[in-house]
């Protein structure tokens, strides 16, 4: 089991396990399930990823709601952008592994 952080822009559900309904939400997942979820478009990062660690607790509390990102400051949006790029790299690495 490993901890993952949700950095997506709308809710994602791993049926029967967890519903990610907040930005920055953490969940402990089996690694294979996390990889499958990421492959399926669930925008999660391992908690240890620097892009996931970049957010301050204050930011995560303030921008937990997806709708709030519209008016978020550039600093937060840059971190979010970096997190999405990190997710794309994570997803691509999974694809490479499965090939």
């Amino acid at each position: 089991m490993k901890n993952y952080v949700f950095v997506g822009g709308l809710p994602s559900h791993i049926v029967g396990v967890v519903s990610f309904t907040k930005f920055g939400q953490r969940a402990e997942l089996r690694e294979e399930l996390a990889q499958e979820a990421a492959a399926g478009g669930c925008v999660i990062l391992p908690e240890s990823d620097p892009a996931a660690q970049a957010f301050t607790p204050v930011e995560l509390a303030k921008y937990a709601s997806f709708g709030s990102h519209k008016n978020a400051p550039a600093e937060f949006l840059e971190k979010k952008h970096a997190a999405i790029l990190a997710f794309a790299a994570f997803q691509a690495s999974l694809e490479k592994e499965s090939n």
Partner: protein, 334 residues
């Protein structure tokens, strides 16, 4: 006691096949929520035409086997720009090309000629009921609608066959009906579902270079007459081929005295080809950008209902800028 099959407890897993005749089993990552899904096998009866000397006919024999499928769903984007929506396999097979993905920015589907076969898994509760997979499935038609509360996608087409868990339990099932499956798999236990649809009435349109916020309804139809081969030596359809591609556009908008709208009306009347971009949704990662190029809008019908007069444009055909350019329509998720 037997349990009734609950129509609502249904999930769809469309999976791209890598090989014709080889079903691909689904994973949690393949789930795509649907509002409606049908996967039906059919086989015609071939009646013997000869007279029997009585008024009775003879037992017919089984004809060709074929499958048909149709899936409708809300146009749910992932919510994160650059991540494909859950309906990605339907879109890729419908457009005939893998999307262009720009991380953290966009996923863009453009038309092409590639042929993809899908294994469309149709699971229903209870698990002991018949579960289906429509395999060797082609997408013949994609339809996008917006204007109401829920923007929708409807995909449909032909399948090589619809295999099910009951056939799997029957030792006499034709090997071609099995799509290479040794046993019928159970539904993945923890399917993944992402995002939601934007409000379908949030449509921003740019028609012939001018912005309009008075679009009432929108429908874009990608009709690719793909079909499976009906050979003379097989009762199951064989590999497919794509037919002529037709992209059509229908929309309704509120009429006004706007000068741009009057200019648009003039262009419509003199059959000037125009371009349009319809963006459904406003949230990053969930904007569906339909770019329809080079269409001659049909003469509008001016309705006589409601308080405001509306203009209805039906059946505008988008044509590529050059033969083979395939640039008459793209769908971008940004």
């Amino acid at each position: 006691m037997s349990l009734d099959v609950q129509r609502y407890q249904q999930r769809c897993y469309p999976v791209l096949q890598t090989t014709f005749d080889t079903i691909v089993t689904p994973t949690n990552a393949d789930c795509c929520l649907i509002s409606s899904l049908t996967t039906d096998a059919s086989q015609t009866d071939i009646a013997r035409p000869d007279k029997t000397g009585t008024l009775d006919i003879l037992q017919p024999q089984g004809g060709r086997r074929v499958g048909a499928w149709s899936a409708s769903m809300s146009a749910a984007g992932n919510g994160t720009a650059g991540v494909a929506p859950d309906c990605k396999s339907f879109l890729q097979a419908g457009f005939g090309k893998a999307p262009t993905v720009v991380a953290a920015t966009s996923v863009t589907y453009a038309l092409d000629d590639l042929l993809y076969y899908l294994s469309i898994w149709n699971f229903n509760a209870p698990s002991g009921a018949k579960q289906f997979v429509a395999f060797n499935s082609l997408v013949n038609k994609l339809e996008f609608t917006a204007g109401g509360d829920v923007p929708t996608i409807t995909a449909s087409g032909e399948s090589g066959w619809v295999y099910d868990s009951a056939q799997a339990a029957d030792g006499t099932t034709d090997p071609l009906a099995k799509g290479g499956l040794g046993s019928f798999p159970a539904e993945p236990s923890t399917p993944v579902s992402n995002g939601t649809h934007p409000p379908g009435f949030k449509i921003a349109a740019i028609i012939d270079g001018n912005s309009y916020s008075n679009i009432l309804t929108l429908k874009i139809t990608v009709d690719v007459a793909r079909e499976l081969r009906k050979d003379t030596n097989s009762e199951f359809p064989r590999t497919g081929a794509a037919g002529a591609r037709k992209v059509s556009l229908d929309w309704e908008m509120t009429d006004s005295d706007d000068t741009n709208l009057n200019a648009l009306h003039q262009k419509v009347m003199n059959r000037t080809p125009i371009n349009a971009v319809f963006t459904v949704g406003t949230i990053a990662g969930n904007r569906w950008v339909h770019t329809v190029n080079n269409f001659i809008a049909p003469k509008p019908k001016y309705g006589d209902a409601g308080i405001r007069r509306k203009m209805t444009f039906s059946g505008a055909l988008a044509i590529p800028s050059a033969i083979g350019a395939k640039d008459q329509y793209t769908l971008g998720l940004t």
